[in-house]
Symmetry: C2
């Protein structure tokens, strides 16, 4: 067989099911090999869509997808969403073609430092040196991606490695794994010994003048929140999650939890009296951006930090151990009731949109959140809606939502995906709409069409810039001309509608929730 077939067979045998592809000439043999494999190939019309989709897929499937990318420039187009994936600890395997070494010596137009680019966003990078090594390198890439916590693995495959002949097939098919499926016993023991007692001690001593907070980060599961909520209630502690958890279980029956505010002054105010913070898969809270007259570090002076579990450890097992140590009954958890908000009517704005989305959200929805300012309230208004999962772009690389929605829908084809998308952020990877149409993915998209980079208008003043002149104003407005988002979606094959009142929105969103297939609603305000 040729190298390309050894590569694809190894991926397939390891249980990889999906390839988000945007290949070129140097990946044609890999495409040929995919033709006779079990891997499902999903074409993306831009590489950022492929990497964003792999992120959405990885967060929901809890195993890696493959991206197939064309040389250095193809990889660089994928980097922004790989940055987001890296921050979310999503497992992804990038397969990047390259020229053969004998061709590289001529510094041809498409030669570039692929490993250099890959190193910026990948924890594991390797260039396959020879075809007989490719199956083993592929195994190494899979193992690297399935590390605890999950990682970005980038394997560079020169074209002569793809087309060369080999007998070497991977000897070992690694099990795909995630932190939650790691053997827990050792972690638990370690946690109990070293950390739980300390955390338990500070929780037991929680008093009005020594307040304690628990902070959860990363993949915040239903079991974790419920356990943490029970502990917090038992101890009289506050319970928070990161501003941008990579995934969080939400809705009726899930434990109550408060997100750390995005704005540093609000977060610092929330934390100002905390004397102890117990971190569960989270970093100590820090301001997302720096501001001239605000501290980056958000914890008050004198606050002690207790790390119950790092992202490398099993947060669920650690919380369970802590609950057991404290003799906490999980039934003590405070959970969200079945009490979705009423439908909003009249003026369409972020608040009324949030209310109606809370009212109409269907059970088991995956919410993919890049709503920025427009979607900021929806996390709250859906708390009492039917059980759902929430994934959010926390790496700060804009242009993730539509792509991640593609991946989430392919990971969970039986579930509705709701993509909350800013009109500015949605533009960066609008090509994802076409893949939604081609694959007929069950995605409802709400575009918050305020015709502005509204977050920047806020941040402009927040960083201390003075009044806004014509130039600054024009660089933060995406009107003139207004983008016809519904028209854009239809041009890519996606059903679309516009809403300018809540009556229109309620009708459209309600219908979109109850049907199958992609539907974009441009909510104009």
């Amino acid at each position: 067989m040729n190298g390309a077939k050894a590569l694809v067979d190894t991926l397939s045998q390891a249980g990889i099911e999906l390839c988000f592809s945007n290949p070129g000439t140097s990946e044609m043999h890999i495409l040929e090999a995919l033709d006779t494999s079990d891997l499902r190939c999903v074409l993306c019309l831009a590489e950022g869509v492929a990497s964003g989709a792999a992120d959405g897929y990885g967060r929901m499937a809890e195993k890696p997808a493959v991206t197939l990318l064309h040389l250095g420039p193809g990889f660089t187009n994928a980097m922004a969403n790989l940055h987001n994936a890296r921050r979310a600890h999503t497992p992804i395997i990038n397969i990047v073609g390259d020229h053969p070494n004998y061709h590289q010596q001529y510094d041809v137009p498409l030669s570039s430092d692929i490993a250099g680019s890959a190193s910026v966003v990948s924890q594991w990078v390797r260039r396959c040196r020879q075809v007989d090594q490719l199956a083993a390198d592929t195994v190494a890439a899979i193992e690297a991606a399935c590390h605890t916590p999950s990682q970005i693995a980038s394997l560079i495959v020169p074209a002569d490695v793809s087309w060369g002949q080999t007998q070497h097939v991977a000897p070992v098919v690694p099990a795909l794994c995630r932190p939650a499926s790691m053997p827990d016993q050792q972690v638990v023991e370690q946690v109990v010994e070293q950390v739980v007692e300390q955390a338990a001690h500070c929780l037991q001593s929680s008093q009005p003048d020594e307040p304690v907070a628990l902070l959860l980060g990363g993949d915040v599961t239903e079991a974790q929140i419920r356990c943490a909520s029970a502990i917090a209630n038992h101890a009289g502690a506050a319970l928070y999650c990161d501003t941008f958890p990579s995934r969080i279980a939400r809705g009726q029956g899930c434990g109550r939890i408060e997100r750390m505010p995005y704005l540093p002054e609000m977060a610092a105010d929330l934390l100002k009296n905390i004397k102890h913070i117990v971190l569960v898969g989270a970093q100590p809270p820090v301001s997302f951006f720096a501001y001239p007259h605000l501290d980056s570090w958000l914890l008050p002076d004198g606050c002690s930090i207790h790390c119950l579990s790092t992202p490398q450890q099993d947060a669920g097992a650690a919380l369970a151990a802590l609950a057991e140590h404290l003799s906490v009954d999980i039934a003590e958890a405070a959970v969200y009731d079945a009490a979705p908000p009423q439908l909003a009517s009249g003026e369409l704005n972020p608040s009324t949109l949030s209310q109606s989305i809370g009212a109409l959200l269907v059970e088991d929805t995956i919410v993919v959140d890049e709503g920025i300012t427009g979607g900021a309230e929806i996390f709250l208004t859906t708390a009492n809606s039917p059980r759902h999962d929430w994934i959010i772009q926390g790496g700060g690389a804009i242009g993730w939502g539509l792509s991640a929605a593609v991946g989430a829908a392919l990971a969970c084809p039986e579930r509705k995906v709701l993509c909350l998308e800013g009109d500015g952020s949605g533009l960066y990877s609008n090509q994802a709409l076409w893949t939604m149409a081609r694959e007929n993915l069950d995605i409802t998209i709400v575009i918050f069409a305020n015709r502005n980079y509204a977050i920047l208008q806020f941040e402009y003043l927040h960083v201390g810039a003075q009044e806004m002149g014509a130039c600054a104003e024009s660089q933060m407005s995406i009107g003139n001309p207004d983008i016809d988002y519904a028209g854009l979606a239809e041009a890519m094959g996606v059903r679309a509608s516009k809403a300018t009142t809540m009556e229109e929105f309620n009708q459209q969103f309600g219908e979109a929730m109850s049907q199958c297939g992609p539907w974009l609603i441009e909510a104009i305000y």
Copy 2:
């Protein structure tokens, strides 16, 4: 003043006129400073549009534009078109914001190795360390971009450097320069001494059994081609240019020149009898991609290489010196007559499109060529059309054309821009359409809507992959659903029409050539 103002004032004083921007929170003070400067700010809705526009601008304006990019992920989105610009020796200055160093220590979500990314596509990278250094660093960036040949310079500006106070304004305003405006005397003398005699000797000895070829690359000016043509005619030599010159003068009155074919077997066949090749700003011809059974090196065994001028040297001066040495009269040049083709009628296909575009092209047009397979013949059918300039994507990073057209139109607002764009390649940076609409740029776009990555369908078999299965076929087709390009353009505010016959195309293209403003024609075949 603050650092941002020192930065912007330094750019402005050096004669920089244009900023292609897609800023974020860490660049807000720079936006504020731009508000009171002479620099024109053009908003791009994706960073690849900003860098592609800067490439198109730099090639036509012969001086750098600035891009304003948001941190690491913003920079990575710009990299593919910076790769193209680097290959074309286009001068560009990237201004990339970053977190303050005191904020970086927390490894916040948007922290990344910006210098690592920048190094992949920039010849000059610097991170400004303190506000008092910023003006001097800006001067250094301008000088680096205006190096001979031109370069990509990336200056990383932490937010506290932007908002910090300084009295340091750049002491020296560098002259913006390009190779053609460098002092030539020294170069000429060097050329005459070391190279011209050798080149002259081989040209003088050109005989049927010792054929000689001249190969021009880079920015191939009207004067260069005419001089080279006269020399070639005088000596009985062949005259070629690179497959992808960064810019080339074309049309009536320009010297006749043949482009090196893209396919290695065709190029090797063309060169098979050449005994001497004289390089003028070009590299020895090498295959764009590697193929299993073809040589990458295209010159025949025993062919001598004579370098008349490197990209670092002044090709015009070197050719003039050579002509003088050989006593060549420039009037000996073979030039293209005023003999455009007739309008085509009936079936719309790449050949008939090429014919009609040749018939209708207006004088002084800038052709921005990313037509890939659909536009391959147009370089030939426009040779006898009115005088025009041609810029082409030669770096191989797809998604350049629409963006480069934005930059070319802003560099030369009095000239028509014709953008030849594949339907696959056009999707990568379709956001450029919006900037065309907002700035009302005089750009006619022809989309070759064959609903396929047609180049890949060809390359698939060319690299030796066997018959095409359903998966491979689906990954090279961008139909199912077909993209409604005219609808996409209209959604972004650009006038658009569809043509399925040559009668429709002729009418639309003729009208587009004679009016002002952006107009996209979707040529469906």
